[in-house]
Symmetry: C2
Subunit: 320 residues, 2 copies
């Protein structure tokens, strides 16, 4: 019988579980809500219950599972499996690996969720066959995972790939959650879309943005994305501007890293090709010709399954 | 008897040769002029003669030498040892590795000179014990070598680390040799110092810059460096401004790579601590606190021997 591995993806609102064959085939998946009250025991219970449900649902034996990978939206000491800080889960300094190994009595591997999404894309998604790859996700913030030689790149102490906090506005930049100003994340994110839409609505005389703004007093990023998909020119322009900013920053990133592929994911990537084309435009403007010719920028493929896929791959790689 | 390795560093004006023990001890060194007329056979002859002199000078047997590493100021296909383009040597598409192996009948390894300097610093210089390190050299241009897990990082096709061509001025930037505008190299380099000094001299009423400018009509970077070392406040300010610009760019680089150490070398680093302090200031201003606290920025140590040291280490690592 083929080895079975479990990938767990702890998100801000949902815990996703996936049971995989070593071939990459997804055998079964399930999900449950994430307890967000900072009660660690409740989180452990949810993780244990989720995996129990998964095993029962898939109708396999626990003894068939060789290892479990777990992705957490957190800054992690990856060498020891410790959550240093997970702001969305209100957790700090917790040895999740040790605690889950006690519960499951199997090898457990803990990793940052963005890194696992990148690993997942490398294994089974748009990154197939790329040895040097980046996954950039655009949502509330910017997530980024870097794969070098098919492995997650952590940097010296696990801080690598925080491209959302590259400074791109050097004077009068907006305040960022990190305490600095002018970070990429302040110009390219759901919040940045909302701000740009509000500004545009006050300048325009008519259109969906103006109507929405009059009613609501502000414009959500999800409305802009939805209207961009329906072809509204103002919303398409907002996405285009943001894409170009991201593209020009990625040109600097690629000048340092020389990746083969840069994949774009996250909620805002649902706009699709229009976003990619504009990222490529911004990239072309600021990359050397050699870097431009040798870097592919495209949409990520696994969407909501990138996390569990990468988590399963992490478990698999460590038990082979 | 300990293994002997040879490191060769082909510079724009000088070919340096070093004979090393595997322990890192430099047994003997020699140098000769680089033929720069684009005559490839002449370059091969110079390389052969240089190594012959080295062996005779050190009074060792050719049979004791296990391998030779060669650094070239060029864009290189490192997998096959091919010089793709060496502008300063007027060479293109040459399989230097194959040709030198025919001459020497020993394993030869070819690598970019900036990468080898970084490897040399990691082995025997300021990088000692660092697994994740960068060496940034400031001279005519910006050179950069990245070491990850004690090995040279090339990126997907060997273009990694070209930080001199990160765009840092987004509007009305100066033209760069690469064809773009606003590259780091246009703001931080010997030429940038010369431009800044010329501008300052026309604004000032007196001082060494004004006197020099009146006599010469322009100011060389070496004059500025020399005067900065003697404590001239105007020249110190020019270096400080440039240091801060480099520091803020390195903050973005470190946000991506999370290196343990960034070493600063090259002709302009001879200014010493004043440069480092200002690089650190610019870095602090734009790095997240975690990155700032966990990145050491200091002077490189090996100066003119970094190249031969890294070349010998490359040979050694490949023959062990």
């Amino acid at each position: 019988m083929d080895t079975l591995c479990i990938g767990v993806d702890i998100g801000g609102s949902t815990i996703k579980n996936g049971l995989f064959l070593s071939s990459g085939q997804l055998v079964y998946e399930s999900k449950l809500p994430t307890p967000r009250n900072g009660n660690y025991q409740e989180l452990l219970d949810s993780l244990a219950n989720g995996v129990k449900e998964l095993i029962m649902g898939a109708n396999v034996l626990w003894s068939q599972v060789s290892a479990i990978g777990v992705g957490v939206p957190a800054f992690i000491n990856f060498r020891e499996g410790i959550i240093l800080h997970a702001p969305n889960l209100s957790l700090r300094n917790i040895n999740l690996q040790k605690d889950l190994e006690k519960i499951w009595n199997k090898p457990v591997f803990i990793e940052n969720d963005a890194n696992l999404a990148a690993l997942g894309e490398t294994w089974l998604g748009a990154g197939n066959d790329s040895k040097h790859l980046m996954l950039v996700t655009i949502g509330t913030g910017i997530g980024c995972g870097i794969i070098i030689d098919n492995k997650i790149y952590h940097g010296s102490i696990g801080l690598a790939g925080e491209i959302g906090h590259m400074t791109i506005v050097h004077e009068n930049g907006r305040e960022c959650t990190c305490g600095k100003t002018g970070c990429l994340e302040t110009e390219v994110s759901a919040k940045a879309i909302s701000i740009a839409a509000g500004k545009l609505a006050t300048r325009l005389k008519q259109g969906v943005l103006v109507d929405y703004y009059k009613k609501q007093g502000s414009i959500s990023s999800s409305f802009v994305i939805e209207q961009a998909k329906l072809g509204d020119i103002d919303c398409l322009n907002i996405i285009a501007d943001m894409g170009k900013i991201l593209g020009s920053t990625l040109a600097n990133v690629a000048t340092i890293l020389n990746p083969e592929k840069i994949l774009i994911g996250g909620g805002i990537a649902s706009v699709g090709n229009h976003l990619i084309v504009n990222i490529q435009k911004g990239f072309k403007q600021q990359a050397t010709p050699l870097i431009y010719q040798n870097t592919t920028i495209e949409l990520a493929k696994l969407v909501n399954r990138a996390g569990i896929t990468g988590a399963a791959k992490l478990a698999l790689s460590n038990t082979k």
